[in-house]
Symmetry: D2
Subunit: 333 residues, 4 copies
């Protein structure tokens, strides 16, 4: 029973159908009928004019955005546990030509505005120290917390005050939207976000993510950088079609709701074991080695997360019976 990661889940059947349906001759790259809809569809969703770029991975979405928001000699504030720092093999340094991630602290991988402000204050304004150019947050965070719209906006004020580009890694953006109840607009550009990595792969997609630019003057640059990084698929319709399928009739929200609900069920099974509030689809539990063994012996598959901690992730297609069984098993520990 898999609670390992939402990125190992199957794609939603409608995604597969959409891929099949898009399999016909069309203009190459992003000139096809599907790709050409993206700007419009995302502009409607975000209630403002945006430019949307499909890419094959979240790393590509994140790092293209960061490269456009931070010059090679600048720095990017992010949490010490941010995916871009921990799990992307140094991709931000590659895409942004040596730009430096500047690591900040905060419970549950969440950044507070004053943490950013303090960090800025500690940097001498001279040529010897790297100056920050951008701020990147993850919503939902790597520890399953969410930033509410007001929290994003408070960071957005700091970003604006210090002329920092503001990027949101939304690998689990859908989960954050469902959890906060915020509108996509309120959780992003109205709060000052310049670029969003809008995740679909962990939410029923196959291999399509979308970089949504609110700061549309970066679009030309992003288009070139995407090509230059080998991310301009010649049959781009296969990516666009996935995204459109997930956006249609709110499928992306349904999927996220399912994942979040399963996480809540697990969280309720043993509230006092939760290391962080469970706000999206990730659960971090305190377990002893013996308890860990017992869970595994029952066939549950998940991630050991350091001494005495495990990580459970629920997916859009999580089997209800599996969730029941795991909730029971946790309660019974």
């Amino acid at each position: 029973m898999r609670f390992f990661s939402d990125n190992a889940a199957a794609a939603h059947p409608k995604v597969i159908e959409a891929i099949a349906a898009s399999n016909r001759v069309d203009t190459a790259y992003d000139g096809d009928a599907w790709s050409q809809q993206l700007d419009g569809v995302f502009s409607a969703l975000f209630e403002t004019e945006v430019q949307a770029f499909w890419v094959a991975t979240g790393t590509a979405a994140n790092c293209l955005a960061l490269a456009a928001l931070c010059r090679p000699y600048g720095g990017i504030f992010c949490h010490r546990d941010a995916h871009i720092e921990v799990d992307e093999a140094g991709a931000p340094g590659f895409f942004a030509h040596g730009a430096k991630l500047m690591l900040l602290d905060g419970a549950g991988a969440k950044l507070a505005p004053e943490t950013v402000t303090d960090a800025i204050g500690a940097i001498r304004k001279d040529v010897h120290q790297v100056q920050p150019h951008a701020l990147s947050i993850t919503n939902a965070t790597e520890y399953g917390l969410v930033y509410r719209a007001a929290e994003v906006a408070a960071l957005g004020v700091v970003a604006k005050d210090h002329q920092l580009g503001f990027h949101m890694d939304g690998a689990r953006f859908a989960n954050a939207i469902v959890s906060t109840g915020a509108s996509p607009a309120d959780l992003t550009w109205r709060a000052g976000v310049d670029a969003l990595s809008f995740g679909f792969i962990k939410n029923g997609g196959l291999n399509a993510e979308c970089l949504v630019l609110f700061k549309t003057e970066l679009a030309d640059e992003i288009a070139v950088r995407r090509k230059r990084a080998g991310h301009l698929s010649s049959k781009g319709r296969v990516l666009a079609a996935q995204i459109l399928a997930l956006l249609e009739d709110g499928l992306w929200l349904d999927n996220a709701r399912a994942a979040n609900a399963a996480a809540q069920q697990l969280a309720q099974a043993a509230p006092d074991r939760m290391i962080y509030p469970v706000e999206a689809n990730e659960i971090f539990l305190r377990v002893t080695a013996a308890e860990n063994d017992r869970l595994r012996a029952q066939g549950f598959d998940y991630y050991d997360w350091g001494e005495g901690q495990i990580r459970l992730v629920t997916s859009w297609d999580q089997d209800g019976g599996d969730v029941d069984r795991l909730a029971e098993a946790i309660a019974a520990l």
Copy 2:
């Protein structure tokens, strides 16, 4: 009637089926059952132990290979009309951190060994001039010619003599195999090739190419570089499955045969108009502006290629009737 590019064609139905069939929970990244077969399948095909890495684009395959074969301060010999120079937005410079493409001449985008040798001879062996680290050729070339095994081998000798890494851009490798009748082994590693960008997308695939490493000691580095470039898909099975489907029962060869045969039919329609020998699935024709207009008026879609020249590309799924009609139209000019 599309003769624009083989990269705009549909994917083969078996590829779509394979994608659907692989849509189940499995280990993330390249730990899944499909990805895990690639090394074995390609090793069998090439009659030697290789390591195979799926990526989403030919640009990624080419540039990951070049980055591993050329240090940032080195140079890469390639033809002046090579795709890596002309059509990849400077991606080799990005992936290889400023390494320099060193442009060589040759009819039909083909390089002769002595061209490479002469170029090497013209470079002072000092720190002021960039020293070549690698050689990259395209087979079939950007002008639809092929290198035969002996021709590759002659270049391989030069590469070896001068310690150059040897890369083959095989965006149309299948067409070259079918055209030359050579074995995959003879056309690559037995001829000294270290790394092959094995193209599938132009030959019935959707968004999966394969970087095949004959110099397997580069595998660890390539694995890291792939991740770092945002090319490690979390549901990598969707890429592996496409490749396996095309390799099964020689589907890749059938597809290439179909494309090449269509090109031959067109070539025969007006042999004296051919700018280059037609050896794969690309045809370059001499036409006057009036002739060009006449063809377009009949509904044929293709690429203008400078003054008085057009490029026609046939695909695996080229409609036979369309080919007949175009052959007729050309003959009638």
Copy 3:
């Protein structure tokens, strides 16, 4: 008798004196009394407000400028024989993060406006082809020709029309000024130049060149890039003092006049052997192998420049007797 290169000459005694005179405790980096004078002195010389940055080499001056004028994904037009292409070990690709030098032709390493315009016209305006961001010329050129103010201005118009940053490699700027009789202002910013690598080392300096920015909004970026490239000397006064010594009382012009005059004397010795007009301090001569041997047997040291060609360079301190002897020897061939 050395006619090998002006970069092997001794420094002018006043430069050594200035170094000694500046050897006292002062603020580190460029906060010292000498460095602080540079902006003012160069602004006066160029009759406009400029910002001036000392660096230790011409390569650093060139490549810092190019990195500021060209994004990593852009291209830089330059002559095929430009120093930045031929003799800087790929430094532009390093400093500018993979930006591409786009090589143009022209007699004597000089570019004509229509050459640039044609090259721009040949580039498709899409994301697949690298788009030009900058233009770099060398004055005096690598073949000892000079651009006159009107010629620079004609290129400046092209640059402006196509939004290209415009850089001048002035390793031998002094020789060009003396040769053309143009004012520094007319030969640079009034002709559209954004940044000048103002050479001193080949003209009596020791290890100080100056990057002069006319586009002063790039100054902050250049300051950071200089530090980041390891070119911010902590005792920067040693560089500034050299530059000030050479600028004082027109010493830089006297030095260039001496070098140019020596070159003219040699040019007159055998006008029909000259491969290019001699306009600065470099002479390219046609000689047979036997003639070459004869010259070398008489103790003249110079550079063989391909089959049947030699390069002679005169320096600010060229011994008059040596020049007489060489002129005679050439005339006697």
Copy 4:
């Protein structure tokens, strides 16, 4: 009275004399008589065959070494307060093409072997996390502590066990040698160090540092990288001559002894105010704001180092009277 930094001091008169003495025509770049002596002189000093490369700054020496010891996709362990992290404007990321500094803790900017080992243990051995390629330490450290030979050797063992290149930033190497009494060999290559940035500028030099390679197989690469970074001065003799002057008759050791002795005198003035043991030429003192004001009112110039702390640095040419006065003033606080 300057206790601000040793990098603002004057150069030793013998250095100026050496510069003047080297001011004659010679082969360009590093082919001159002075540069050609470096390998031999340093090999003798280090009792093993080394290759030595002059450069103009410590940043260049450090970052050239790191670029050769760490591939672009690797990581470099260093202390959180290391100069390469804090004060080089991200230069390691530039020279090493996005390689990542991995920050470690340790009192007084000193690293313990187990800190490195623990950090290695915490990194998953997969492609998602940056793997360490190198280790860099500073000796004497940024807080004026020294690594003794045995301490370096213990780190050397860790480096070797984990195949990490081992770099020492020796901006104050002379001070460390004098302080520890170790031989240059024992403090470096015998302890596993692969490359040393041997500092001269803070110790009486003007603008010459030396990158000493013990891992001589990197020499060719370093030579190219130096050129490519714009650090190959054409009149390199001016750099080599400075270095030779300081090495002659142990002048470098005399200078360091003078600086260290002055620091000791200050340290003894108020042992209980010392934040770190004073082992080289830097002193960090606890002072109240009022005490700070009192010192400054007496004309002492130094660096405020965060709340309640000041940094004093003594130089090779520190005036004895100034030191007496400062020692007295400190004692009197």
